[in-house]
Assembly symmetry: C2
Homo-oligomer: 288 residues x 2
């Protein structure tokens, strides 16, 4: 019988950009399973990918992706890392993808959430099971509570509640995993630009004297979109974002507990303490 030899515990990691795919692979390896990196060309970091069994794929090669996962005996697939939504004309198509094109185009026109859930359905039809970060590496997920040395004030907590409510309200528009709220005013809503760009804008407006709230007031709030498939694309926080929060003159960062990835927890908390900003995991639905 070959069954016992087939590594059932191989997990395919479809790797976009950033360092989180590497952190996930390490967590999988630590738990005694085998990570198989399916690295997206142009996005995944070769240094992280090449530490493990890996294959390179182009954006749009879903057929190849599914075949590689099966050839490597992976029943479970995780999608992780940054991947800017590609323009349709930039996608290099394989035959499998061309056959599925009408469905993909329909999913594409509906926003990220529909695109991702469309891909998940296609994978599941091929016998692959899409899993999330929480399933393989719960240790890199933000917990509830204050994470560093600094505490949010009552005003910060009001700003956090408003930010969470705004992100929840924006859900149907498939936009906004992050907002900045200061003294009850919404200063910025993230869309295509990304969190660090949004924070840079706050820093610029402050330098130009175009913000009415003082330095040290205001919170970056990050949470997944309410209807988002939590197996894909959770918000993330890294040390650079913490530094950008400080440069933007805000008081701290609130992250949706249980649904935000913090790959380098120690580094992030140390950065927040150095920057004298608070860092707190908050329950999305409940009281802050």
């Amino acid at each position: 019988m070959m069954d016992a030899v087939v590594p059932q515990a191989s997990i395919a990691i479809v790797c976009g950009g950033g360092n989180i795919p590497g952190a996930i692979a390490d967590a999988i390896a630590r738990s005694g399973r085998r990570p198989v990196m399916l690295a997206i060309r142009g996005w995944a970091d070769p240094k992280l990918v090449e530490r493990h069994t890996h294959h390179w794929v182009a954006v749009g090669q879903l057929g190849r992706l599914f075949r590689l996962a099966q050839a490597e005996h992976c029943r479970e697939v995780i999608f992780i890392g940054t991947l800017m939504r590609p323009a349709l004309r930039q996608i290099r198509l394989d035959w499998h993808t061309i056959r599925m094109m009408p469905r993909i185009v329909r999913a594409f026109a509906g926003g990220d959430d529909r695109l991702l859930s469309g891909i998940a359905r296609l994978a599941e039809e091929r016998g692959l099971h899409i899993i999330g970060v929480k399933d393989v590496a719960p240790e890199i997920i933000v917990p509830v509570g204050v994470l560093g040395r600094y505490q949010p004030t009552a005003r910060d907590r009001t700003d956090i509640a408003r930010g969470l409510h705004l992100i929840a309200t924006l859900g149907p528009f498939d936009v906004g995993q992050a907002v900045v709220v200061a003294n009850n005013h919404v200063l910025a809503v993230e869309a295509a630009e990304g969190t660090d760009n949004m924070l840079g804008r706050i820093a610029d407006l402050r330098k130009q004297g175009r913000l009415s709230t003082s330095e040290g007031v205001g919170v970056l709030v990050k949470a997944p979109k309410p209807k988002q498939d939590r197996r894909f694309d959770l918000p993330t926080i890294g040390p650079q974002t913490v530094v950008n929060v400080m440069k933007a003159g805000l008081a701290g960062v609130a992250l949706a507990a249980d649904n935000t990835i913090m790959a380098d927890a120690e580094e992030v908390v140390a950065a927040a303490d150095r920057a004298k900003i608070f860092l707190v995991g908050v329950p999305e639905g409940g009281a802050v």
Copy 2:
């Protein structure tokens, strides 16, 4: 009897920045009434203000503002022009304002809408009546329909509907008079940065290859916040914004008809035609 001599038709214009206060004053003068410019120091343009009867006031001098309006026999006051929400500590207070401070602070903490409606109530207690642009210069308000040579496509109209819906949804958060929607994706939501800054961001993201939608796709949608007091702070459109829409690679501009100010209509339409973008006034609630 002095009644006939008192110029009942004097209208006080509290002037912020930009050229719209001048356009309003001209419209009032054309209609045979007398504009009295109450120019906010640091914001109002002296060249526009000094063509008419005028007085300078500092931000926060509400008492002086109301006294001047009454001394100039104005029963009606219009607030117009850009005015960045000032930090409380930058406000130069007069005694009247200090007495009203607790109420102003309460209004201030609630967002622009509450601040403005708080000021309106205070004015009305003093016997002044706050009016809007539509009351004195309906000719500079955007009408329903296509305004230039170019027409929105069916896809543009879908994007417009989504943008209007998003702005309506954001209403309770007192944010977002403008959004950019492209092929059903929300690319940007305006908050503290202003429309031209938001469009500059789209142009930058496009240059960096970080937008998935092609050039020539996407719409700038501007509309007042749904609960906004329409006597204050209507969205505006000028030729520079049209140029910025072109630079952002969008297809056109949709404006809430009956609730957007277009002070230089001919210039704006000519700019849109030159830029080959459409310009359309759309009913806020109805079908696009």
